[in-house]
Structure formats: C-alpha cells, structure tokens
Symmetry: C2
Subunit: 702 residues, 2 copies
C-alpha cells in the first residue's frame, strides 16, 4: 500500500531547489508553486536565499514545519543522507528525480540498492530514481519538472519513460484533455507499476488507468494486482520492446516458441489488461473510457452525412465483429418524417450531404431510450450546408440523456477544429477518422465483456510436492544432470496423474521380445532409452507399428545401432517397448519458465501444427479452469479437436485437466525449467489422454 | 486517353451559374474565379445578369468565345441538351456536378445512359455525374463546389465519395499539405478510376496517386492500367466496403472462400497498388512519397532524444521486417566526440534528454554519405532543454544533401506545433507517433521492391479453345446442365494437359472386377459416377484402398446402394475404378469467377488446410509465372511442400504449371463459373501431379 501522502501531501520539501532557471531543481519548485499547491512548499539549498517569493532553507533541519512528501534533486549521496532526516520530519513518501543510479551501471547499481535500503529503514516509499516526478491535478500538486500542468480530469497515466510523459503532457495540454495523475516511474527502485495500479484502483479521481511499460520486474505480483484492479477499472498498457527479447536459446519446442512477449501477452490477458498497439491507440482508448459509459451491448448505430465515411466505419465494425444495430420499425416511424426522401434509414443512417444540425438532432433525440441500440457513432464531413459547431452541440446535448456511449468523428481540419473542441468539452470522444472511433468502441466492449465474465478463480492450491517426483528430480540434480528424458520424466508426470501406455524396458533383443509378449503381442512402439538422447526420432531411435516377435527383435538391433552411429557419445541403456495407442490425435503440451512471469504454459496440436504453422496458445501458471478452456479453444486448429468430418470429438475435458496438472507441477517444482509432453495423445470423449513422450530440463531452484 | 482540356482548359463554361450564394452553381463559379483561373470563365443562366463582376450569359449560344471545359449544375434534361451545344463551341471535356442519375434508380438509370450516349456522340469525355468536380492547382483551376483550394503540391487524389474529398481538402488546407489534382469521380458514367490513373501517370505535376474506391466496374481494365501506372508512380488506394459483399452463395470450396475482397486484394497486389487500411494510412503514406525519395535499401537509422519512443519505433521496424542499420566504426568515430558520455551509439542513437539542436545536427551531418544507412527517422520529445524549431531546421537542412529518405516524429502538441510546420515546409514528412512514421517508410520500401522486381509478363496468349473441351462443355450446356462432375470435367482438364490416374468405368459388379484386373490388380479407388452427385464422399460414394477382386465386387454393391439411399434422386451411371496414387500430398486448385475481375484462382493444401485453417492464396487470371510461384509460396503451410521431416520436396514446378493451365482454361472458357480440382496430388520433385477429382459449374457465356 502506498502512503496517501505521495499523492495528497499536506506539505512538500524540495531538496535541491535552486534559483537557476536552467536547473531541474528550479523546474520542480516553480511547478509546485505555479500549479497552486495549497500547503507549504519548502525549498532546501545550502546557499539559502529566496525563490519565487519563498524562503530557501539552508538545511533540512532548518525547515520550520512537518514534511509529508520530499522531492530530491541532489546528487545520490545527499539523497541517502537526506532521507532519514526528512523522515524524522514526518516524510512518508519521496520522489527521487536525480539520475546517476542503476542506469549508469557499476557504482550506480550499488547506490540504488543503498537508496532502497535507506528508504525502507526510514519507513519511506520512494518513486524513482531517474524520473520526471509526479502530478496530481486534483491536489494541485505538480511535483515534477514537466513543462506545464494538464487540465483536471479522470485519466491517470504512469510511464517507465520520462520523455514519453513529457510528450503526453504536451499533448494533453494542447488538446485540453483532462488528466488525474501523471506518474514517471523512473528506475523503479521501490515503487512499481503494480503499486501504482493498486493505488489508482482506490482513487476516486481516476476512471481509467494508462501505462507505458518496458519491463515488469515482478511478473507474479503484476498479474495478481492487475486481476484485482481491472475488475474495478480499465487498465490499458503499451508494452515496448516487444520484439527485442524474442530470441532465446531453448532446447524444447515450447522454449523456442515462448519468449518474453508471449509471456506479457498471456499475463495481460489473464490479468484483464487491455493491450494497446501504439501510444496513439492508448489515448484513443483512454478518451472513450474517460468520457463515456461502458457499453452494455454491442449493437452500433452509425449516423453520417456522407456515404464513404459511413462505409469505412461499417467495414471496421464488421472486421472487429461489432454488429450494426437493426433499426426497429418504431424508430423508423419517428425519424422518417424528419428526413428528406433520399436519406438512408438503413444503418449507417445517412442524413445526406446537405444536412444541417437539425437532422442530426432529430435522429439523435429519436434514438434516446431505444433499447435496440447500444452505441452510437456520429460522423460528419464538412460540406456546403454542414453546421459543424451546431451539430457538435446537438450531439453533446443529445448524448447527455442517452445512457449509452456516443463517439464522434468529424473529418477534416480547419472547418471542424472548433466543433472538435465543443465535443471534447462536452465529453464526446472524437477521432480524426472513423476507424479509430470504432476501434475505441471495440476496446470498451471487450472491457465490458471481461468485467461481466467474472474473474477466473486462482489455480487450486497444491497439495504439496509428491515424494516420487521430488526424489526423481532431486537425484537427477544431485547427479549434475540438466536434462531428463522420457524414462525419468515419466515418473514425475505419473505423480501428477498422467497416464502412459503400458511399457517395458529391455536391454537385449531377447528381452525386447519378452517385453512384447508381456504386453499381449499387439502393435507396439520401440524407443531408445538414453539420457543423452532428447530428440529420439532424429537419430533413428523410434520404430512404430511393430507387430511380430521377428519385427521386434530386428528393430532392437536397428534402433540401437542407428543411435550408436548417429549419436556416438550417447550411453544407451536399452529400449522401451510400448503398447501402441490407436485412434488418438497428437497434441503438444509444454512449459517454459519466463524470468518475469514464471511458468508459461503452451498448448497446440502436435506435428506440423506446432512446427510449421506455430498454432499454439500460451498462458501463465497457475491456470484457472477458464484459462485452460480458453487455451484449448484459442488455437486455429481447434475445429479438428471438436469433431471433424465425422470423427468423434476429442476428450476436451481431459486436455483441460492435463493443462491444470502441468500448471500445478510447474508451480510445485521451480526446478523444472522447460517441459515438453510431445506427443500427448487425446482419445475420443470420455477416454482420456495418454502421454507418449516427454522430457524436461532442470536446474537447482533459485 | 482523357483530353488534356479536362485538367488544363483554356476556357470554362459553368452551365447553371447563379448569384444565389446558397446554390452549388454559385459555389462552382466563385471557386473558379477565386482560385484565379487565368482564362475566360463563362457563366450561363437564362436570367442573365452579373456574378462576381462577370457577365452571365442567357444561353450557351450567347457565349462569345470557344469553350474547352463545361461544368454542368443544371437538371439532367438541360445537361443532355447542353452537351452538343457546348461541343459545337469546342468543348472536349465536361464535369456533371448535378445529381439525379443512377443513384436515384429507376428513371435516373436511363438518364445516366442517355448522358453517356450524348457525351459519346458529341466526342466529349464526362466526369460524374453526382460529383464535387475537380481541382488542378497547377492550372489555378478549381472547377468544384469545394470549400477552398488546397496549396500547390505533387499529390493527386481521386475519390468515389465526394464527401471524403471535402474532408481531405479541409485537412490539406488546414495542415498546409500540397496537392496537385483533386478528382471527385461521382457515378463514373464515363470517366473511371482507370482513366484517371492513366492520365496522372503522364502528368508531370503528380508524384503520387491516391484514391478512395468503393467499387471498380471494369476489373480487367483496372488491372491492366494499374500495372502500367505503378511501375512509373506509386498508387495507394483505400478500398471501402470490404466486408459487406463477403457472403456469396457458392457450391465449390473455391467459391465459398473467394468473395469480392479477395479479388480486390489479388488485383491490387498483381497491379502493384499499395493498399492502405484506413484513410489515415493513405495520407501517412502519401506524405512520405510526396516529400522524400524512395529508399534504395532497408537499413533504418533511428535518432532520438529519449529511449521510449526509440524503442517503439524499433519495435514497429522489427515487426515489419525492417532491419536497424549497423553503425560502422568510421561513423562512430565521427559522432562520438560530439556527444556526452551517456549517449547511446547503438541504433536507436540516443542523444539524451538534454540534447539541444546541435547534437541532432552533428549526428545528421555525420550520416550524410554513409553508405550503410538507407533511411533515417528523427524522433524528438519536448523536454526541458529541447529546441524543437531549431532541431526541425537542422533536420531539414541536413536532409537536403543526403539523398536518402528522412522521416520525423516530433511527439507532443503545443511545444512542437511550430516545429512540425517547419518540417512540412521543408519537405520532411512528420507523424504524431513514431509507429506511423515507420509504417510509411515500410510502404515506400515495399514500393521500391515492387518497382525494382520488374512487372511479370502477362499470361501467355492462348492457342485457342481445344475442340474436345469445347465439345464437352457445349454438350452439357445444350443439355441444360449447370454442373459437371468428375467424368465430364476430366476431359476438359486433360485437354489442358492435366494427368489423371488410370481408370475404367464400370456399370456392374462384374465389370468393376474386370476393370480392376485391367488396371493390373494393385490398390484401387472406387468412385460413384453420377452427374447429380458433386460431393461424393458425403453420400458414401468413394472407397479407397481396395486390393482384391472380392473387395472390388463388394464395394460396387456398397457404393451404389449407399448413394441410392442417401441421394435417392441421383441417376447412377456406374462407378469409376481408379488406380490409387501413393506418396503424393493433397492440394486444392480452384477458380471462381468474380463479377469485376473475372477468373479468381485459388491454391492451397487440401483437406484441413483449406477447410479448417483456410490457408489459401488468391490471384486473378491470367497468371504470370511469378504470380503462380508467389501463390505457391504465400500459403503458411508451404514448408510442408518444400521438404518436411525428411520427406522429398514436392514437385513445385508442376504445381506452378498446373496453376497456369487452369488460368488459361479459365480465360479460354468464360462458360466455366467455378472449378475445383480437389484433391490434386503432387508427387515428389520431377514426378508431376495427378488430378484425382474435379468438378465445374458452367453457364452460357455472357
């Protein structure tokens, strides 16, 4: 929990305030004064003197009153010294604007650690270092070196890039978009995006939370926080650096398809966070949430004075799966007499190019209370008879009583500039082109569905590490091994309820024949058993469909000699003779441990679906039931599982259960770095699944 | 060929000019006068009088001089009457602004036909009707009822929506973006987008051609025109109404996956047209082409004063496959001394938040002449020390001598407004967010590759309709049939060089056994032969892998009785016994005739790839060799054809040849409406393909 004083201090001290207007210490102090902060603002500067009519104090100790919030614009050592002193004056929260910490590497890393420790031991929460500061318009607090203060509003924005903060501030001021809080996170030595999100969830002055993130240090905390926050308020994030960290050395299929961006995407989705593609999207969405109610349904009405833009809006709606509302007969009857004969009463409703404001007003007021319409988009192109300002006013006043979200796109520039200001002032989000308006409406719709769907329960708690699994993994680690082939992995998976086909180990040709007999002499599979061989097929280590003693005997010789030839350094323990399972479909189920978010689970159909088409779904463990169900249905090849060309539907329930078992296993054993169950055969409904092959890579738990 | 007088008239007559400023006839006349058209402008109004200091003539005959261009703002009948009269005065081109034609249906359709005929017989080319008019800034000609005239420039824009023209004009004037020609196409009774594109290709004042299209009437003409135009100038189009026409009743796989938008996409691609997703994209791309040279390579340098926006730009570049340029040691040596120690010399080059204009200038001037960099993107966020205007000036002057394209994104609003004006005036395309700048750069890159790749030769000309194919199709049509099953279609395809497996027809069980023997008694397939059965598998009409006389005899009874039961109305001719082809991969190759673009060919892997994954490629016939090769490589499952898990690569050359054969067939026989060859088996390299099943739907050629 962040202390309230961070955003609502009674008093502020600026350590490093200065009269030199070129310096950041001046910028911060003058912003505090100019934004009209009502409490005392103490500037500290060893030289003393005066700044903007305020006395400068030569030291912290010289401050006459209590201090709630301290802003530091001095070198690192002075900060470390100042924190306990200001804490003694009552400081609960600090903002470290100064740079020279982790971002410079070397000594800076140690300084940042010292900063965190100093803050912790003084009981102070610290924003930064290396940040722009923060702004709370509702407390007339601008504790940053920004250029100007944005107007009051209900959008809050946090950013890991200070420069992006300045650009967004400039835009907010220029476009007159109201903001509640601006938070520059800097190096996040103490306060993280999760702290901020949790605070803003409770903040009555914040309606929508925006953020720009480059990296999230504690992925699990973030996931937890976002789940709690997003069911109360929308959170929209831009994640930068999506493609840089893609390439990771990985020995498993899952590992090679995973990667940091997959983990962020999965976590955002599981946490209910809306991901914006660009900074422009971020603010397009913010405007909608900030100004309009969340839609209760998806039926959109488009009102326009021109065909073209109406079609463009309808195209985008169709692309995003938003249906155009049917115009009921009753509404038609109300509108018809007000419009010229050539107007179109289909949807888009086209009031025709010579429409003045009255036609818009007539249609909009007829819509009020119409239960078959959930959202309205008002389009205008400036033609000869068009009245942009009056139409904007009509839109604003009609929307007030409607109770459903209204969006606008008035196209053009000079002719519509004033009307756009009227729309913004009247809380109608407006966009330069219709497509962006529809996309914003779509995001609000996604949010409304997410919220009404309730959040999935957390993954059920583990009943502890099964002793067998613990022993197998422990022994492998003790032996210095980092990979576990099928033979060892099988024991671990069996402890989590996975079934394998019946099988028997054999280290000679005669033993293999004996195993074949013991399995009932049906069709069998033979696979090499060697801890060094992880990709058995590549070295000729697998034979399918053996159905006689002769075939089995011959296969033993062929398999072992092929592996000996193609993988000469591998120690061959023998072979596994396995009952062959018929009638199943191949799946792959895997896990790769993400450094930020922990176990990242993957699901897909096996073979070409994963290898060539990369048709896979990812989620972060622990998986809720709904998460697992969504994973299965998300892949493009899902229809092949359901029931394809007369085949029986696959046992989907068993797949969901298997996913949750791997989720539990991954959470129980942080030693497991990567895991592939490939292939996992799913049988028809009610007949369950069989793991056919599996392997893991392991490491000492951190 | 359009007459030059349409854009460069020596004199203009406005039929329907009026002194009433509420009327369109006033708007057109006053625009002509206010834009400073240098030649005589004659207003015609039966009432006579004066307008804006010009005499109004009571009739066309009263005009004292010759007229090159006539603008009509009078009711339809007066236009039909006026055209020959003005033609007698020398008119070569007319603009019909008035509405009341095809768009009102009924009598309007006939009037539009009459308009076209009147124009043709008078030797006049006509723009419209139902349009805004046209503007040519380079001739000081504004023959439209727009609000204002845009500044002179090199972008030309045509639009099927007049309202969109007005919005774009408003934007151009507000943002001070230069335009060359504005053309509102209206109903396109005579002059089409193809005419306009061909004219603009030759126009020295046009550098980039933009268009908004809702429908293209003559698809083949458009394809032909765009091929010729796009190798000279970039053409960027927005196609609206993409999703509306999707649903078509179709009995073939190809038909159900085709649809109008697929045809437009294929034709745009084959014609070298860049397709913009939104109107915003359209103008983002236009700015780049208008102001900067086309890049010669793809290596991008990003220069920034802040990390965040640099990462966002790099992300977008990576997503679009644009590599960041390596900074060579020599360049590093030149830049290093000019930057502070904390600046980053990786790419993005980060000159750090306190950079003034000089650091930008130093880096930009060092880049000049560096052969390892193909494109530059300059980013700026307004921070305390930032000098946006001076930096804009530095960017403009540095770019002048560089010879490579330079883009900019100065983030924010109020602080960067003036600097953006400087950039625009200095021909540096600038964008509100970095992502849009990178997307514009990417489009220019795509265009440069398209242009350097040379255009594919046209499909080779047909050697005439093979008599066998002609007879088969002719007989089916004469018999009133609209579908042709495998037996009949086979003959047509064989005439185009397709091979089928050996096969024999049998109408009794005994005959089937005899056929089996005659094929050499290997594995065979049995298929029902019935003109009424198009989906044989669905009615139990196919049996695979029969390998004994007993099986064949039994299969005959089972197949015929199953079809009799499940498709009781079908007349059963017998069965086809076919040699079974081993070792091939299943493809589907189809054609569906698009109303605008003609034969639309489809290619994909058969079975689930087409049915579930919809992994298919489309092109318009005739196919060039390159078109066919691209189709094969475009599908996601292409790796399965190349060489997958040790299997031999498929005979790709034979697939390309098959595609071109279907292309020729489709062009030779307009009677064929739809065609599916499914499955088409492709054998390993050098072994060709075998058509296993096929069917067509036919209709009398139009």
């Amino acid at each position: 929990m962040l202390p309230g004083e961070l955003f609502h201090p009674g008093s502020v001290a600026v350590v490093g305030a200065t009269r030199n207007p070129e310096k950041v210490g001046y910028g911060v102090f003058s912003n505090l004064v100019q934004a009209g902060f009502p409490g005392p603002v103490y500037g500290i500067n060893p030289g003393g003197g005066e700044i903007l009519g305020h006395r400068l104090y030569p030291s912290i100790d010289a401050i006459p009153g209590a201090v709630d919030l301290g802003v530091f614009v001095v070198p690192p050592n002075a900060i470390l010294e100042g924190i306990p002193r200001l804490a003694a004056k009552g400081m609960r929260a600090g903002i470290v604007v100064s740079a020279g910490f982790k971002e410079i590497g070397g000594a800076g890393v140690a300084l940042e650690r010292a900063l965190r420790e100093a803050a912790t031991s003084a009981g102070v929460r610290v924003l930064g270092p290396n940040c722009l500061g923060l702004i709370n318009t509702h407390a007339s607090l601008n504790a940053s070196f920004s250029r100007g203060t944005p107007p009051k509003g209900n959008i809050s924005f946090f950013s890991q890039s200070g420069a992006l903060c300045t650009a967004v501030l400039d835009w907010a001021i220029g476009e007159n978009i109201g903001f509640s809080k601006f938070i520059s996170l800097g190096n996040k030595a103490d306060i993280s995006e999760s702290d901020i999100m949790e605070y803003l969830a409770d903040d009555p002055d914040t309606r929508v939370i925006l953020g720009y993130v480059e990296s999230i240090d504690d992925g699990r905390r973030f996931l937890c926080a976002s789940r709690q926050v997003t069911c109360r308020k929308p959170v929209i994030l831009v994640k930068a650096g999506t493609t840089a960290a893609g390439a990771r050395a990985a020995s498993s299929h899952t590992g090679s398809l995973a990667g940091s961006d997959r983990a962020y995407s999965a976590a955002f989705r599981q946490g209910g966070v809306l991901r914006a593609e660009t900074v422009e999207d971020l603010f397009d969405l913010a405007l909608g949430f900030s100004m309009q109610p969340v839609p209760k349904g998806d039926r959109l009405l488009i009102l326009t004075n021109a065909g073209g833009p109406g079609i463009l809006a309808a195209d985008t709606a169709s692309l995003l799966g938003i249906p155009l509302a049917e115009i009921p007969e009753s509404l038609r009857g109300k509108i018809l007499p007000k419009l010229p004969a050539t107007a179109s009463l289909a949807n888009p409703v086209d009031v025709i190019g010579d429409a003045r404001a009255d036609r818009y007003r007539d249609v909009l007021s007829a819509i009020g209370g119409e239960s078959s319409i959930d959202m309205v988009l008002v389009l205008l192109t400036p033609q000869a008879m068009t009245e942009p300002e009056e139409t904007a006013r009509a839109t604003v006043s009609a929307s007030a009583g409607m109770g459903i979200p209204v969006f606008a796109s008035f196209l053009g520039e000079a002719s519509v500039a004033e009307s756009r200001r009227i729309l913004t002032a009247g809380c109608i989000p407006n966009y330069p082109v219709p497509e962006r308006a529809v996309r914003a409406a779509h995001a609000m719709l996604r949010y409304s569905r997410l919220r009404t769907a309730d959040f999935p329960e957390e993954g059920e708690s583990s009943s502890g590490r099964p002793p067998i699994a613990e022993r197998v993994i422990g022994e492998a680690l003790a032996a210095g091994r980092r990979t576990m082939g099928e033979e060892e992995s099988r024991g671990v998976l069996e402890a989590y309820g996975f079934s394998f086909p019946r099988h028997a180990f054999a280290d000679t040709s005669a033993a293999a024949v004996e195993s074949y007999r013991s399995l009932g002499a049906g069709q069998v599979v033979m696979k090499i058993v060697s801890p060094q061989v992880l990709h058995k097929t590549d070295v000729g280590g697998v034979r399918l469909g053996l159905s006689s003693e002769e075939e089995v005997a011959r296969a033993f010789v062929e398999v072992t000699s092929s592996v000996r030839r193609l993988s000469p350094s591998a120690w061959i323990a023998g072979v596994s003779v396995q009952e062959m399972v018929a009638g199943g479909r191949e799946l792959i189920l895997g896990m790769s441990r993400d450094p930020q978010f922990g176990p990242l689970l993957m699901f897909g159909l096996g073979g070409i679906y994963v290898e060539v088409l990369k048709d896979v779904a990812f989620r972060v463990a622990p998986l809720s039931r709904r998460d697992a169900e969504e994973m299965v249905r998300e892949i493009k090849s899902y229809p092949l599982l359901a029931a394809y060309r007369g085949s029986e539907p696959a046992d989907e329930e068993a797949i969901v259960e298997a996913l949750r078992r791997v989720s539990r296993l991954s959470c129980d054993f942080p030693e497991i770095q990567e895991l592939d169950i490939n292939p996992l055969l799913v049988l028809p409904k009610g007949k369950g699944i069989r793991a056919i092959d599996c392997r893991m890579t392991i490491a000492e738990a951190p």
